[in-house]
């Protein structure tokens, strides 16, 4: 073999879903013994690309090559048989079964009459566990293992075949530093065996520590491949965020009204502590932080889905107790939730019914719901928010993400909220609609609504917010006005670098 050929190559992969172009001509190649990072923001198309690679989605056009041989992937099982193995962020293990049964799930060694060959099963498993260098044996019940060890079992699954390529999807999300070291050693071992590795992660530090090359996706498009040794975090970030979207800083200045919402010393167990802030009418307040920083939990508490342990919530200067969404809605607090499809919409219902759901009690004529009143509300917000649907009877599940989100926003605007909380406003929404949602949020501020925006995308937060609260590990680290905030100090605030100073400074 003269020039090494890539173990895995994707060429010009295009995948569209109704209303979204999820992948737009993505190419990627992985050499033997290479750790190849795949980076991109949420919704950039990483998971869709991996689903195409695993045969879960068929690409519209494009080709997958394994060792330069054109291959059509039909299922994860088939991909595995061809030596392409996935290690998912979400563990998919059967808790009640043993480590051995999990590792060889679906391919248990058999004796005559379909009996399981337990001796061989345990021996093979122990051999795999040995290469992983873990402290448990084949007979351990998976449910008794720590998350990190379960992750090892998941990796063990990949080793039952001789893999050509292993895809790690956010493998360190739930690991401690010590456990990461073990994982990186496993990756290095695979590397020396000539296995190609695709490593998906958001964590720059790891990426620069263990990868050889970095490919970047943005909005479903391939943005380039960089050699890790020759690049910098800045360059990668630039590629990831890009400027295809108008995400200029929010510099609009309109007069703010009275304080609409004030939160004092709000605590909720381990989720967040001593959170205080005030929100004025006409203000868009951004909450920025890593996933798990407690932002969504604060929103859920304000909406009555969680009970605070301590602290006060004041609406227009009056203290309120909010114990359920019903109470929250009565007080004029609305939540556009993070997971639109599970928490925000009744997907099987039509657009109009979804929009009027919270106020349908007030739209009755005699014992019956008034069709006219409902359609009037729907029409009003369809025009106002520019919701593109053939008609109110369209099932919401068939709309694009952007239009779905507008239905949820319209639903709450029609309730004339005192405070509108929008959690991850543009998750899973294509670029064009993103801009619309951003403009919409800024308009709402200008119209005098008090808005809270929670986002994991820095450009988005910077773009829509008049003021930003940076959170780390359940605490408010810092508050920035749109003038004083920079990407640097925002990143420092949410990564805990300031946390240490903060604690020492006290």
């Amino acid at each position: 073999m003269t020039a090494p050929i890539p173990v895995l190559r994707l060429e010009g992969i295009v995948k569209t879903f109704p209303g979204v172009r999820a992948l737009d001509g993505v190419s990627l190649s992985v050499m033997p013994g290479e750790v190849h990072a795949l980076m991109g923001e949420n919704g950039a198309g990483k998971s869709t690309l991996m689903k195409v690679l695993g045969g879960i989605h068929a690409p519209d056009t494009g080709q997958i090559f394994i060792a330069e041989e054109p291959t059509v992937m039909t299922s994860p099982q088939q991909a595995k048989a061809k030596g392409v193995v996935f290690i998912h962020q979400e563990l998919s293990l059967a808790d009640e079964l043993s480590v051995a049964e999990n590792i060889f799930l679906g391919e248990l060694p058999l004796k005559s009459f379909g009996r399981v060959d337990w001796t061989k099963l345990y021996a093979d498993t122990d051999a795999i566990l040995k290469t992983l260098n873990v402290g448990f044996d084949a007979k351990t019940r998976v449910g008794d293992l720590s998350i990190a060890n379960q992750q090892m079992v998941e990796i063990g699954r990949a080793l039952t075949v001789n893999p050509r390529a292993v895809i790690f999807d956010e493998p360190t999300a739930s690991l401690t530093d010590a456990e990461k070291v073990v994982l990186f050693k496993v990756i290095a071992d695979l590397q020396t065996k000539g296995v190609g590795i695709i490593y998906i992660s958001h964590r720059m530090e790891e990426i620069f520590k263990i990868t050889d090359r970095i490919s970047v996706l943005r909005d479903g498009q391939y943005r380039g491949t960089l050699t890790t040794a020759d690049t910098s975090e800045d360059e990668v970030t630039q590629l990831m965020i890009g400027r295809s979207l108008d995400l200029s800083r929010n510099t609009s200045h309109h007069a703010l009204g009275d304080v609409a919402l004030e939160v004092r010393g709000l605590c909720c167990g381990k989720l967040f502590h001593d959170v205080s802030f005030a929100l004025r009418k006409g203000e868009v307040l951004g909450f920025y932080g890593l996933v798990g920083a407690g932002r969504t939990e604060i929103a859920e508490t304000l909406f009555g889905l969680r009970t605070p342990r301590a602290g006060q919530i004041l609406l227009n200067g009056q203290e309120v107790k909010i114990t359920s969404p019903i109470e929250a809605i009565r007080h004029g607090i609305s939540l556009v939730p993070e997971d639109r499809k599970h928490q925000g919409l009744v997907l099987g219902m039509n657009c109009r019914d979804n929009m009027t759901l919270p106020q349908i009690d007030d739209l009755t004529a005699g014992p019956f719901v008034s069709d006219g009143a409902e359609v009037a509300i729907f029409d009003h917000y369809r025009d106002k928010l520019d919701i593109r649907t053939p008609g109110w009877h369209q099932t919401v599940g068939n709309l694009s993400g952007g239009n779905q989100q507008k239905i949820v926003i319209g639903k709450w605007l029609s309730m004339r909220p005192q405070v509108l909380i929008v959690d991850e406003p543009t998750r899973g929404i294509d670029v064009g609609s993103k801009a619309e949602i951003h403009n919409l949020i800024r308009d709402l501020g200008a119209q005098g609504y008090a808005v809270i925006v929670i986002s994991s995308e820095m450009p988005e937060v910077l773009h829509v917010s008049d003021r930003i609260i940076a959170m780390f590990s359940g605490r408010v680290m810092r508050e920035f006005t749109s003038e004083e905030v920079t990407e640097d100090n925002l990143v420092q605030a949410i990564s805990g670098i300031e946390a240490n100073k903060f604690v020492e400074g006290r």
Binding site: P325, H342, Q343, V346, G348, L357, G391, H393, Q394, G397
Partner: protein, 333 residues
């Protein structure tokens, strides 16, 4: 939109097409195979069919709401038997006997109240414990049936009130009393599900409970009302039937829950909730009754009836799956 509407029309209309096919098939097959020389689509025969559909039909209509809501109620058969005993037994109480014919509405009231209370018990347990309705009503099915035997013993409870029998056997505008109850119940529940807030909420909760909670719907009390309603309807079914028959066996109403569910599913309502229609369930009920009658008409042994219904049910569900596959795909992303 057009595809969604087309699919809806196909789903909800399919059962009526199926009924037409049954009618055509049994009419033609009957010409050659029937042992009697009466035509299958004889008017009186059809009237009788509607009347015979009523007991399970009234329960199935209520079951539709429960299933759209994302729950299930397995205790309706036992509730039916218990309400029947209350109806017949209460009319023998001295206090009621002293009332003459006024005993009838009182006995009806007591029986219907029994059903509503039994339903409320189911609903409250589902709401307050959060245990799946399948498990809760499986338990209450056994429990309520136990009550039937405790009250009744192994012997039938009988009481014939001739005023009541006359009322039950009456025909108004050609339709029997039981048929009127079936049709009025269907109309009322159809209005409830398509025109009222309660109906809208039932669909929303069944389709996405979390989103319903987030929209401020009181999910727990809503479900309790639905269980009260189906308990009431199970009792109504019993009241209508036993007014005429006048004698209840402790095993009466067994398997009613499964027949009701069969009719609901045949009508296109989803077991997973959020989707379904009252009128299609009415179609499902009539389709099953037609099949029973039709198979008898062409001389098939009664033993084969259940086999055929079972096969048809499975075939319908397979078809449903095929029809819906495309729609599911779009939602997956």
């Amino acid at each position: 939109m057009t595809t969604a509407r087309y699919r809806d029309a196909l789903k909800y209309g399919a059962i009526w097409v199926f009924i037409l096919v049954e009618l055509a098939f049994f009419s033609i097959a009957g010409e050659f195979m029937s042992t009697s020389d009466k035509a299958f689509m004889d008017f009186d025969n059809m009237l009788l069919l509607l009347k015979q559909s009523a007991p399970i039909g009234i329960i199935a209509l209520g079951m539709t709401i429960i299933m759209i809501n994302g729950n299930i109620d397995l205790s309706v058969g036992a509730t039916y038997a218990l309400a029947a005993i209350v109806l017949l037994d209460s009319m023998t109480w001295p206090a009621l006997q002293a009332m003459g014919d006024w005993a009838i509405p009182v006995a009806w009231g007591l029986a219907l109240l029994t059903g509503a209370v039994l339903g409320a018990i189911n609903g409250l347990i589902v709401w307050k414990t959060g245990v799946d309705a399948f498990i809760v009503t499986l338990g209450s099915m056994l429990g309520y049936r136990g009550l039937v035997f405790m009250i009744n013993g192994e012997q039938p409870t009988s009481h014939l009130n001739w005023t009541l029998v006359d009322f039950a056997e009456a025909q108004f505008l050609g339709l029997h009393t039981a048929t009127w109850f079936l049709l009025i119940t269907a109309l009322a529940l159809w209005l409830l599900m398509t025109r009222t807030v309660h109906g809208r909420n039932a669909y929303a909760i069944g389709n996405n409970r979390e989103a319903a909670v987030n929209a401020g719907i009181r999910v727990g009390p809503h479900m309790v009302w639905n269980f009260v309603l189906i308990g009431f309807l199970a009792a109504l079914s019993a009241v209508v039937f036993y007014s005429e028959s006048g004698s209840v066996n402790p095993n009466d109403g067994m398997l009613f829950e499964l027949w009701a569910i069969t009719a609901v599913v045949l009508g296109g309502t989803k077991l997973t909730g959020g989707y379904g229609s009252i009128l299609s369930t009415l179609g499902g009920v009539i389709a099953i009754q037609l099949l029973r009658k039709g198979l008898g008409h062409i001389g098939a042994a009664t033993e084969t009836v259940n086999l055929v219904i079972g096969l048809i049910l499975i075939a319908v569900l397979l078809l449903d799956r095929q029809l819906n596959r495309k729609g599911q795909e779009e939602l997956k992303i």
